[in-house]
Every structure is written in structure tokens, then in C-alpha cells.
């Protein structure tokens, strides 16, 4: 035990004396949260729009006011022709133009269903979809307000009463906070452990350790302990930041949240161990962890792009990305407030992956020693 502790102490020295590592370890979570929280946002906010109003009556004015009053849109200008609207689009001045036909209010009162045209810049298709959806909602709301004033007994109107559960404001941060946790944990645990072990190989100190009475399993455990502790510190700091800075709620049990994170961290550590057995240099270890871990986590875990929309083959691949299961479980617990019973599936997948990875790396480790 004393052997083990003196080795763990050494690992902490390595980490604390390397400013670059320390900066990555402590700065990255904060940087990512701020980046995703404020800079990279898929939400629509204050988008400039123009109005092409052939009618210029009370109704069109009211709809325009309501559009602009919402937090999604910002009034840019009024145009008189389609050509002017085109120019604004080309110059990137506006991203949506609302077109009202002539005699809008009159038609509306007569009950002959006048049409509003929405022109949206679809170079960013996701944004265009959101813009049109938001505009539709606002216009429909106006119509509903108008209804009582009109003929009340209009039959055959189907109304959808939409209620958004768990995230009523549709905040992106509810989605990416679990994602960032999934990314940070795997980067810190897997990348740092693999680089740490490979560094010993490169420096030649691994030989000395293997010749010493210290058992190989202790060498690996001692490497893992500091990163496990540090990554837990990161999970806590991410949760604090997102709770107080981004107003993301923590609806489920914190103990459950931390337990799932520990399991996922252990999984990442075993991934790092596996990477350390297949690479010979620190650069290679860094590259493998970067490409083989970071990209799948970013692209295939559901952190940014929804897995349900991917082709079947990618959906299959996403199943072996550990972050997918972690993020699913964390969302369930953190946002939906679910308990153990509801995330057992995700947790067992993670546990199964640990068993497979540890088995593989132990096998590789032995081959290398022979």
C-alpha cells in the first residue's frame, strides 16, 4: 500500500508541475462551457427581418409588431418590392422577409383566408426551419386572439395545444451540458492516461518500474487515480457552472449523476489504457485519442447532431460510442429527473464496455511484455 501511495504521489507531481497539462485539465471544461453556452448556439435570437407589406392595414401592422416584439426577431426595414427583398438577402442584411398580400385585413374579416408569405434564407437550413416555425407560431397566436372577435361558431377547427416537456424554453444548454461532460471526461481520462503511460515507455522509466517489485496492475491504477479524481472535480465544476451560469436545472439525484460519471470515467480510463498499449510515442497516443475519441464523441454521440436523423449504418456505429450512452443517461437524470431504474440500460452498456476494454488491454499488455 505504501508503495502504491508513493507512486500516486509521484503522478500528482507530474500533473501539477506541468503547466500545460494543468491548463488543459482545468481550463478546458470552463472554456467549453462558455464556448457552447454563449458562442456556439443553435438557438434563434434577434434575427433581422424585413416586411414587404402590400396591404399596410391594422392587421398587418399588428402581426409585424408581434413578430418584432418576440425575442426571435428584430425589425430591419420595410421594403416595397420583391427585388428590394432579394437585395437585402444577397447583402446578408436580413434572413427572413414577411410578405403580406393586398387587402389583408379586409380578406381576413370576410373570412376568405388571406395568405402570408414567409421568405427565409435557407443557406443554413436548421436556422431557416426554426425561423419559419417561430413565425408560424406567432402568426397563429394572433389568429387565435382574433377568433373571439370573429364568428365564434366556426366548426371543424382542429387545435394542437403544444406543451414542451422538460425544456419548455427549448434551451440548447439543456442538451449540450451533458454532451460537454461526456467530452471532457473522455478527453481527460483517456488522453491523459494514455499519454502518461506512453511517456513512461518513451522515457525508459517503464522498464525500471516493471523490473521493480511494483505489480503492473498497481502502476496502471496509480496512473488512473489522479485523473479519476481530477475528472470528478471537473464534473462538479461543470455542473456548478451550468447550474449558476446557464440556468440548467439538476432535477435528478446528484449522487446518481456522480455515480454514472464515475462509471464513465472508469470506462474512459480503460480506453486510455488500451490506447497506451497500441501506441509507442506520446504524439501517437495524443493523435489516436484525439481522432479516435474526440471526433466520434462530437459527431456520433448525439451531443450536437441527433442520432435519430442519421443513416442506419451511422446509428449502428453510434451504439459503440460510449459517450452516447453516457449522455443519454445524464440527460435522463439531470433534465428529466429520472432514477436508477430508468437508466439501468445505459449503465449496463457502459459497464459491459468496461469489461471488454479492460480485457482487451490486459491481453495487449501481456503480449507487449512477452
Amino acid at each position: 500500500m505504501k508503495q502504491f501511495l508513493s507512486f500516486v504521489r509521484k503522478e500528482f507531481f507530474h500533473i501539477f508541475r506541468d503547466t500545460r497539462t494543468m491548463l488543459i485539465l482545468l481550463g478546458m471544461p470552463i472554456a467549453l462551457i462558455i464556448l457552447f453556452g454563449f458562442a456556439i448556439t443553435t438557438e434563434v435570437k434577434e434575427v433581422p427581418i424585413a416586411v414587404l407589406d402590400y396591404s399596410k392595414d391594422e392587421a398587418t401592422q399588428k402581426i409585424t409588431d408581434q413578430l418584432i416584439a418576440s425575442e426571435y426577431f428584430k425589425y430591419h426595414s420595410s421594403v416595397n418590392t420583391y427585388e428590394e427583398a432579394q437585395t437585402l438577402f444577397k447583402r446578408n442584411k436580413v434572413r427572413m422577409v414577411v410578405v403580406f398580400p393586398p387587402q389583408f385585413a379586409g380578406d381576413l374579416l370576410k373570412g376568405s383566408n388571406p395568405q402570408i408569405q414567409l421568405l427565409a434564407d435557407a443557406t443554413d437550413p436548421n436556422e431557416a426551419t426554426s425561423l419559419v416555425n417561430y413565425a408560424n407560431i406567432i402568426i397563429r397566436t394572433y389568429q387565435q386572439e382574433l377568433m373571439p372577435a370573429q364568428n365564434q361558431t366556426q366548426p371543424g377547427q382542429v387545435q394542437a395545444d403544444v406543451k414542451l416537456l422538460y425544456n419548455p424554453q427549448m434551451k440548447g444548454s439543456y442538451n449540450f451540458v451533458p454532451g460537454v461532460m461526456g467530452l471532457i471526461l473522455i478527453l481527460i481520462c483517456a488522453m491523459m492516461t494514455s499519454v502518461g503511460i506512453v511517456k513512461e515507455k518513451e522515457m525508459g522509466t517503464m522498464e525500471v518500474l516493471l523490473v521493480s517489485p511494483l505489480k503492473p496492475i498497481y502502476i496502471i491504477l496509480a496512473k488512473a487515480v489522479p485523473y479519476l479524481l481530477l475528472s470528478m472535480a471537473n464534473v462538479v465544476s461543470i455542473l456548478l457552472l451550468s447550474y449558476f451560469l446557464l440556468d440548467v436545472p439538476i432535477n435528478g439525484s446528484i449522487i446518481l449523476l456522480l455515480s454514472i460519471s464515475v462509471i464513465y470515467a472508469l470506462l474512459s480510463l480503460s480506453l486510455g489504457l488500451l490506447i497506451s498499449t497500441i501506441t509507442e510515442t506520446q504524439q501517437a497516443a495524443m493523435l489516436v485519442s484525439g481522432v479516435a475519441l474526440m471526433l466520434p464523441v462530437m459527431l456520433l454521440s448525439g451531443m450536437i447532431f441527433p442520432i435519430e436523423n442519421m443513416p442506419l449504418i451511422l446509428q449502428g456505429i453510434a451504439n459503440i460510442v460510449p459517450a452516447k450512452w453516457y449522455i443519454l443517461a445524464i440527460r435522463d437524470v439531470m433534465i428529466k429527473g429520472l432514477g436508477w431504474i430508468d437508466v439501468w440500460q445505459e449503465v449496463s452498456v457502459l459497464l459491459l464496455m468496461i469489461v471488454v476494454l479492460v480485457g482487451l488491454s490486459v491481453k495487449r499488455f501481456k503480449i507487449r511484455l512477452e
Partner: protein
Amino acid sequence: MNVIETTNLTKRFGSFTAVDHISFSVAQGEIFGFLGANGAGKTTAMRMLCGLLHPTSGEGKVAGFDIFRQTEQIKKNIGYMSQKFSLYDDLKVWENIRLFGGIYGLTTKQIASKTDELLHVLGLQSERDTMVKSLPLGWKQKLAFSVAVLHDPKLVFLDEPTGGVDPITRRQFWELIYQAAERGITVFATTHYMDEAEYCNRVSIMVDGKIEALDAPSVLKASFGADTMNEVFHSLARQAKRKAD
């Protein structure tokens, strides 16, 4: 008493025989030079003796323990210094000493007294709190050797310990080795430098996995009619068919 004893020790990797039936023994307190060209099988043989590699066949005992079944016991009784520098650059001098003392199971008290003694012998008292990376290479290697024998092992393995060091520092390094041998620590060293081979009590020369010569340097020189160990080595190494890797 013999600290190392092997009979027909062999290691095969697939169809390749890295070490081919070597038999030799090293007595306690002896300084034994283990020579051979690159790829001759030195490192493989040494790894088997350290308990890192399982031999394919043959027998061997190191520090009185069997190299097949008692590797854990062997590891407690040997020291090791590799050809690459084997201390941690980002730890202070005394932290390195404490680390390896801890790994070899010394008590805190033992480590404290050993640290003082070691720094005194090396004249490094003032460098106690220096990061190892800012020490000159020669000092580092002397420190690495002293750390390798910190736990008073029966035997210390040195894998090309003086690579890249100037002749004067090498000479000083060998003085440390003699001191260790006087304390009864057996020294088993591989080296590229033939002048170092002259410092050994006995040397063996490996060619293509076999030990082709084994005796005191003076005896070897006489029997090969050579003036230096360098000539002895080259006349043997020339027979090698295997390519260096």
C-alpha cells in the same frame, strides 16, 4: 556463492532463437561485463534474468530464486538501471530517492537516512531540492545508479549505463560501481564501450544468441593474441550472421 546461474537458457520468438542455450554463472561481488553487438540477444537474456520475460527452456537462478517461478522474489532482490535515463525529470532529487525507496518498500526512516548518506557520497547535498532535469547528464547517471542500489540489492543490472557520457565521467561512474561491488553487490553490466569491458572482473561476449567467449579480460586478450578488448570483440563479432536490428 553464485548470484546468477543459468543452464541452457533459451528464448525463442516464433522460429527466431534470440537466446540460444546460454550457460554461465556470476559470483557474488563480481563485476560481470555482458557484451555483444546489437541484436546478439543481450537485452533478451537480461530481461529473462530480471524476471520480465519467460524463458522458452533451460534453467536459471538469480539471487537464489528460480527465474520461472519466483520472479516476484527476484524483483525484490535486484536493482536495475536502463540505457535510457531512468529517473523522473520533473521530480526533485530527494523526491526521486523517496519514490524509489517507497517502491522498494523501505520505511520512511530508512529513506531519510539513505537519502542523506547517498547525497553525501555523491557530494550532491546542495542539489537536494533541484529538479533532476536541470542536473548535468553525468550527475544524473551517478544519481540513477545510486538510486538503483538504494535498497541494497544482491545484484544490480546495468543496461548500457554510460551511453553518451564523456570518458572522465565514465571513469567516475565506474568508481561508484567498484564501491558497490565492495559492499558485496554483484554488478551485471552491458556496454558498448570496450574500455569499460577492461574494468570488469570477467566478461562474456554474445554472438548470434550464443556466448562465444567468457573469461577475465586479460585471459581473453591472451588467448586471442590481442592487445585490447576491442580487437577481441571485433574478431568474434565478425562471425555474426544475424543483422543488427
